[in-house]
């Protein structure tokens, strides 16, 4: 099951996202950018796919460096300038170089096994529970231990997968910074994609102060609410790390 999942991962992802492999004639610029990065860094060139949607996004998939696909949406092509796009593509190429699909598939082996054990134990345990009789009750106790064990394994491996995946993102950011030498461009791209770019205000401080004077309590700025409900602290972290790399390069 897991092996199948890994083996077909690229095809499943491409099929479910509606990505179409594109030739150099269709998207010459995109091919150019990727060829420049792979040529400079001695990486195999992946296939390139495009998804027609306004959502700005990009991903990489594939079993190994030789048979990989980098997919981008038309939205991201419109949103980013060439250097920013280069940063994003270098990030995806690093995912490929680091074999992150394989790493995450392997990491999910435990959680998948634990998940099946849990299911199996749960339904199995139900059956025993209503059976009655001392021998069965002993069995039920054992079953409960299995369920708890599997549950713990599942929770822990779930957390570990999250941690690995976060770490891999940071690693890919770092890789992108090394490949392009311009971490600030990737930081810019991340801000544009997440819409943070629009949050840096253009409204004059004096005008904002003027508005606040009308209220006894200062008007709540967007950020306070944003912070409370923000689901993406990692973005700030990623940008912070990228800017630290930028600082160390200069």
């Amino acid at each position: 099951m897991i092996i199948l999942q890994w083996y077909f991962s690229d095809r499943i992802v491409l099929w479910s996202s509606g990505a179409k492999i594109v030739t150099r004639e269709q998207f010459p610029k995109l091919h150019d950018i990727i060829e420049r990065i792979v040529a400079r860094n001695n990486l195999p060139k992946p296939k390139i796919a495009v998804i027609t949607t306004n959502m700005p996004n990009a991903f990489a998939t594939g079993k190994g460096p030789k048979s990989s696909v980098v997919a981008v949406t038309t939205g991201i092509l419109d949103l980013l300038d060439i250097e920013e796009l280069e940063g994003v593509l270098a990030h995806e190429l690093t995912h490929i170089r680091n074999r992150d699909v394989l790493v995450l598939t392997l990491a999910s082996v435990f959680s998948t096994v634990a998940w099946y054990l849990m299911q199996f134990g749960f339904y199995g345990g139900m059956g025993y529970g209503y059976g009655g009789g001392s021998r069965d009750r002993n069995n039920g106790g054992g079953m409960i231990l299995v369920i708890i064990g599997a549950m713990l394994t599942w929770i822990i491996s779930f957390l570990i997968i999250r941690a690995i995946s976060r770490y891999r993102e940071f690693a890919a950011d770092r890789g992108s910074a090394q490949l392009t030498g311009k971490p600030v461009k990737l930081a810019n791209a991340l801000m544009k994609i997440s819409g943070t770019m629009k949050q840096v205000p253009t409204k004059d401080l004096r005008r904002v102060e003027g508005l606040n004077a009308f209220f006894i309590v200062p008007a709540v700025t967007g950020s306070t609410i944003g912070n409370l409900f923000s689901t993406h602290p990692p973005l700030e972290k990623r940008i912070q790390k990228l800017m630290e790399m930028e600082a160390s390069m200069s």
Binding site: P201, L205, R206, V208, G210, T221, S223, N227, E246, S250
Partner: protein, 199 residues
């Protein structure tokens, strides 16, 4: 390494900073900006506050003028006081060294606070020049803004009519955010367009 940085940061954040402490931290951070980003301090800075009519306010204005006139010769300082279209009073200082203008600006801020106008204080602005490194030798002004309400600095790099260079601003953040009280929430980086600092 990062542990110590975090540790230091948490100490910095817990320490109750006064405006003068916070502003004076620029006396080392401006060197970082010059060596790391090639941003040269122009010797110009300004403090702005909401102008009101009334005797006390004009008295304070006179006090500032008297004080600056007195220190003019000693520090080779020139100054200018203007009111902008928003009704904010700007005390603009031009001096020889960063240390001098910092000390003068802090003194002006103290005078304003002593006269009971601390709630009127808006911002202190420090001007830098990129010496033409970005745009074929055309010098661009970059600014650090100190917000008196939040007691924090943030960068402001205008490149056109209501357009700012966020990339350059983030570079500034990366270099000096650990050195001075810095506003890390970018949604509070309110710009000050058409600064009256130009001579």
């Amino acid at each position: 390494m990062s542990f110590f940085r975090k540790f230091r940061k948490s100490i910095n954040n817990n320490k109750p900073k006064t405006d003068s402490d916070a502003i004076f931290s620029l006396s080392s951070a401006y060197i970082t900006l010059e060596t790391k980003l090639g941003l040269k301090n122009t010797g110009r800075c300004a403090v702005s506050l909401k102008s009101v009519s009334g005797m006390h306010f004009s008295e304070m204005k006179n006090d500032i003028q008297r004080f600056l006139d007195a220190s003019k010769a000693e520090f080779e300082l020139s100054y200018n006081i203007v009111t902008d279209s928003y009704g904010y009073l700007w005390v603009i200082l031009q001096g020889k060294s960063m240390e001098d203008i910092l000390a003068q600006l802090i003194a002006v801020g103290d005078t304003i606070q002593d006269k009971g106008f601390s709630s009127h204080l808006l911002a202190a602005v420090f001007e830098f020049s990129d010496e033409g490194k970005n745009n074929n030798n055309k010098k661009h002004r970059q600014y650090l803004i100190y917000n008196y309400k939040y007691n924090k600095f943030y960068p402001f790099v205008p490149i056109g009519q209501e357009i700012r260079n966020t990339e350059e601003e983030m570079r500034i953040m990366a270099e000096i955010a650990d050195e001075i009280p810095f506003e890390r929430d970018m949604t509070l980086w309110y710009p000050l367009w058409d600064l009256p600092l130009e001579p």
